[in-house]
């Protein structure tokens, strides 16, 4: 039975789409049949991050409105087997999404896939609520920064009240915290919230910690999810995150300042 996971945050620009792309890629690399759905109708971007923007023909709204079949809209990833992308519409507005339509599509996808990732739009409006409504698990993406942490707390409140699991008194949505853009040297100097501060304030289990990394922009420039950059810190951190999502026990990395040796400093360059 497929697991539906929403990637959400409340605040924009914290790394939802980057994370949805990286985690879905990681799951597919482990052989899990995965589909990632862009719920940001009107402002689609997942296709760009996944590098399939020129292959979009039909989208989520076309499928919901019966203008295209699901298989016509699903884009097969060119790099990994078992990975599919369902893009959002660029032209319609978010009212084109209906709860019944989303439910129908998810039920259909559940037959074929192991994991269904829903990349939520920012905010707490209709699009974001529909992205989380049918979720079994939620990955709450948070930056070590006051407005992001506060908004994550708001989202946690909604996950506990405005989802199918909450409304039907089923087991609650399993919540995971994913901290992104973490900068250990700023944490050490006392100018950034620590990992433990954020965990304590939100009281959610930590799924992963992604360091602030040059590799992320490089990945989005190229349209190649950062998980493929296995030499980079962010790529490795996302890979660890995927392992934990699959129930493996992985020690935390990249949360402390990396001491670089002399040789590394001289020849290692800026590639991290």
């Amino acid at each position: 039975m497929a697991k539906i996971i929403v990637v959400t945050s409340g605040k924009g620009g914290v790394g939802k789409t980057t994370s949805a792309a990286a985690i879905s890629t990681g799951l597919a690399l482990r052989g899990k049949k995965t589909v990632v759905i862009d719920f940001d109708v009107g402002l689609r971007n997942l296709d760009l991050i996944m590098g399939c923007e020129r292959r979009v023909v039909y989208d989520l709204v076309n499928v919901i409105q019966g203008e295209a079949g699901l298989n016509q809209a699903l884009i097969r990833d060119k790099r990994v087997e078992n990975l599919f992308i369902l893009p959002a519409s660029q032209t319609r507005d978010k009212d084109a999404l209906t709860q019944e339509g989303v439910e129908r599509i998810l039920e259909q996808l559940k037959q074929d896939f192991d994991f269904i990732l829903c990349d939520s739009p920012a905010g707490i409006e209709r699009g974001a609520q529909l992205a989380m409504y049918f979720a079994d698990e939620a990955i709450v993406v948070t930056n070590p920064e006051v407005s992001s942490v506060r908004d994550s707390d708001r989202i946690l409140g909604l996950l506990g009240s405005k989802t199918r699991r909450a409304e039907q008194s089923l087991d609650p949505v399993k919540e995971h915290l994913l901290i992104t853009r973490y900068n250990p040297s700023r944490v050490t100097s006392g100018d950034m919230l620590t990992l433990d501060d954020i965990r304590e304030i939100l009281s959610v289990d930590l799924l992963g910690l992604i360091p602030e990394s040059e590799a992320v922009l490089r990945a989005s420039n190229q349209g190649v999810p950062v998980t493929h950059d296995a030499a980079s810190d962010a790529g490795q951190a996302y890979s660890d995150t995927v392992s934990r999502l699959l129930g493996e026990d992985m020690p935390l990395r990249f949360h402390e300042v990396q001491r670089r040796g002399l040789l590394n400093r001289m020849f290692g360059g800026g590639r991290r």
Partner: protein, 83 residues
């Protein structure tokens, strides 16, 4: 001596300020979770009514709604100033 003290005084780290502010605002947010949408307005209007008779501060009023099996209890706490 004064100079030495000045130099030794540690600047309060911005991250700990952030943490304190977040703890307060998040506790407040959680208090409002699951409340009906009319609660903030009800709170404001109750405060207005009380102020027609007694001058109280904004934070002198606490209002909460607790639901039990088949009834809800609206609890109102107002701290009046010493007269």
């Amino acid at each position: 001596m004064k100079l030495l003290e000045f130099l030794k005084r540690e600047r309060k780290k911005s991250a700990s300020v952030a943490k304190e502010r977040l703890q307060i605002i998040v506790a407040h947010q959680r208090g409002q979770r699951g409340q009906p949408d009319y609660m903030p307005l009800l709170e404001r209007e109750l405060l207005e009514v009380i102020r027609r008779y007694v001058q109280v501060d904004d934070d002198a009023i606490q209002i909460s709604l607790d639901s039990e099996d088949n009834c809800s209890v609206l609890e109102l706490n107002v701290t009046l100033p010493k007269s």
